[in-house]
């Protein structure tokens, strides 16, 4: 039952992922990407990680992709779609094939079994998935967490400074 469901979701994820790069219309690509995120969220749920799934939908599908769609709509990139980037397509497909080959080779010929941590399904069900993430984030991984937030703050300030016009009369409009 679970395997069938996983196969369906994974197939949908791969299909929508392919649609992202093959669609001619950028809006359709963006929507396919939303669908891919949704499938990933479903996979998180199957891995006993509902908090990750909710955040995936909330942040990636709900906020970031809306902004991307927003930009695509305002830029009106329809004229761009007519061009074909054959060189880029050729190079990227060669690189992609190489990467796929390398990863398949290592899967077959090495002893990559993964490292088993102390957290299994029983622990997650007992303590709670959200609590585990919160504890890990604010104790063991506090420094990376803080560094990431400072990085984001710098990015926000940079964006504000870049978009602020030198002429105060025009900046009034975006206020």
């Amino acid at each position: 039952m679970e395997t069938i469901f996983f196969t369906l979701v994974a197939a949908a994820a791969v299909l929508t992922g392919l649609l992202v790069v093959t669609c001619r219309n950028p809006i359709n690509s963006a929507l396919s990407l939303v669908m891919t995120f949704f499938c990933l969220a479903t996979l998180y749920v199957m891995l006993d990680a509902p908090f990750m799934a909710a955040i995936q939908v909330l942040v990636y599908a709900g906020a970031i992709m809306v902004l991307i769609v927003f930009v695509i709509m305002l830029l009106n990139v329809r004229s761009e779609t007519a061009k074909r980037y054959t060189h880029a397509g050729f190079i990227s497909s060669v690189v992609g094939c190489l990467l796929l080959f390398v990863s398949l080779y290592f899967l077959n010929h090495s002893s990559l079994t993964g490292v088993r941590g102390s957290l299994d399904t029983a622990v997650i069900n007992q303590v709670g998935h959200t609590e585990l993430i919160g504890k890990a984030l604010f104790t063991d991984f506090l420094l990376p967490f803080e560094i990431t937030s400072i990085l984001l703050l710098v990015a926000i300030i940079g964006a504000v400074i870049l978009t602020r016009s030198a002429n105060p009369s025009t900046s009034k409009i975006c206020d």
């Binding site: 809006i27 929507l31 509902p50 909710a54 939908v57 809306v66 927003f70 709509m73 305002l74 206020d175």
Partner: protein
């Protein structure tokens, strides 16, 4: 009822299907009669009668409206992106309805020895002796709300019309801004309940009414109510469809059933938001034991819907820059302040 399927008793499946059907039909009926109630209410507040002709005091008006919209001609603009145009109303409608899956609307009832919680996405765990529900229920609702934006954005873009596009863009900007403030406002509720599960949040508010989070978190309650009004595009924040400047915003080019779907999505969103506010702040289905829990739940939700309509009859629409300033410069800092205060108070007392 001794049969089992995938290790669960048959009554589990039967109760699940029944819960879904009952809630769905109930919400659909509420949507239909909310349109009638709104017209009637605003009519009386403006010293008019509202609909009077169809049935006694216009009681059959929603059915007449539905039939009319159903038989209208379907118009798709020639320059529209057909696929996205057809998809948009569906994307708007579905998240509005499936949000109800996680809302607990009553106490656990017992049917033929099986305990059934009145919440769709939940079951009674006999070995643990408690109700198990989705442990990130609130985030699920927030996630659905953020997916509902796509319906409106796509509708605006696919119609290939200036007014629609402007309405769609406005709406997406507004919903993203206020989603943030609404999400942060309920963080303080999580800090008190120490859980994201709606079952636990409701259980925490049992007892007398001063246990409700509306009284423990008054600032969060007010902020969440206002932000959710903005998120469901209700007056005074109904800028995406501001008929005086944008004709009708994102649904200008829509007709027939597709227009009706947007309309239904708007009212279903209103009901969902009122149900969430009831669950998070007004004690959910708790109330004096003279009436069953679900009656209290429905009464509280209907009262909040009434408040939404009252606000619509009372306040004029905000200007767009005022709306953005309010969201980012007033509500967001206030919610953050509330989180800090809650954190300090909760850690010292």
């Amino acid at each position: 009822m001794g049969y089992e399927l995938f290790g669960l008793p048959m009554i589990y499946y039967i109760s699940m299907v029944l819960k879904v059907l009952v809630v769905f039909v109930f919400v659909l009926l509420t949507v239909a009669y909310a349109t009638y109630a709104e017209r009637k209410l605003i009519g009386h507040m403006q010293v008019r009668f509202g609909p009077m002709r169809t049935g006694w005091h216009g009681l059959l008006q929603p059915i007449a409206d539905g039939l009319k919209l159903f038989f209208k001609e379907e118009i798709i603009p020639a320059q529209a992106d057909k696929f996205a145009f057809l998809l948009a109303p569906i994307i708007a409608l579905v998240p509005a309805f499936i949000g109800f899956a996680v809302i607990p609307f009553g106490d656990t009832i017992e049917v033929m020895g099986y305990k059934i919680p009145l919440q769709i996405a939940a079951f009674y765990d006999t070995s643990a002796g408690k109700v198990v529900d989705l442990n990130v229920g609130v985030l699920y609702i927030l996630g659905l709300a953020s997916l509902g934006v796509y319906g409106i954005v796509l509708a605006g873009w696919a119609s290939n019309s200036k007014y629609s596009l402007l309405g769609g863009l406005r709406s997406s900007a507004q919903m993203i801004s206020y989603e943030l403030a609404a999400g942060l406002a309920i963080v303080s509720v999580f800090m008190l309940s120490e859980s994201l599960s709606l079952q636990k949040i409701v259980a925490d508010q049992s007892g007398m009414f001063w246990n409700w989070y509306a009284f423990k978190q008054p600032l969060a309650f007010v902020l969440f109510s206002i932000c959710s009004l903005a998120e469901i595009n209700r007056t005074p924040f109904d800028l995406p469809e501001a008929e005086t400047e944008l004709v009708s915003g994102f649904c200008t080019e829509y007709s027939s059933m597709k227009y009706a779907m947007f309309f239904m999505a708007e009212y279903a969103n209103m009901i969902t938001v009122c149900a969430v506010t009831t669950t998070l702040f007004l004690g959910g289905w708790h109330g004096p034991a003279i009436l069953p829990g679900w009656v209290w739940f429905v009464a509280k939700v209907y009262f909040l819907i009434f408040l939404c309509m009252w606000v619509r009859a009372t306040y004029p629409r905000y200007r767009y820059d005022q709306l953005m300033r309010l969201g980012w410069k007033v509500f967001l800092p206030l919610t953050l302040l509330n989180i800090v205060i809650t954190g300090i108070v909760a850690s010292f007392f």
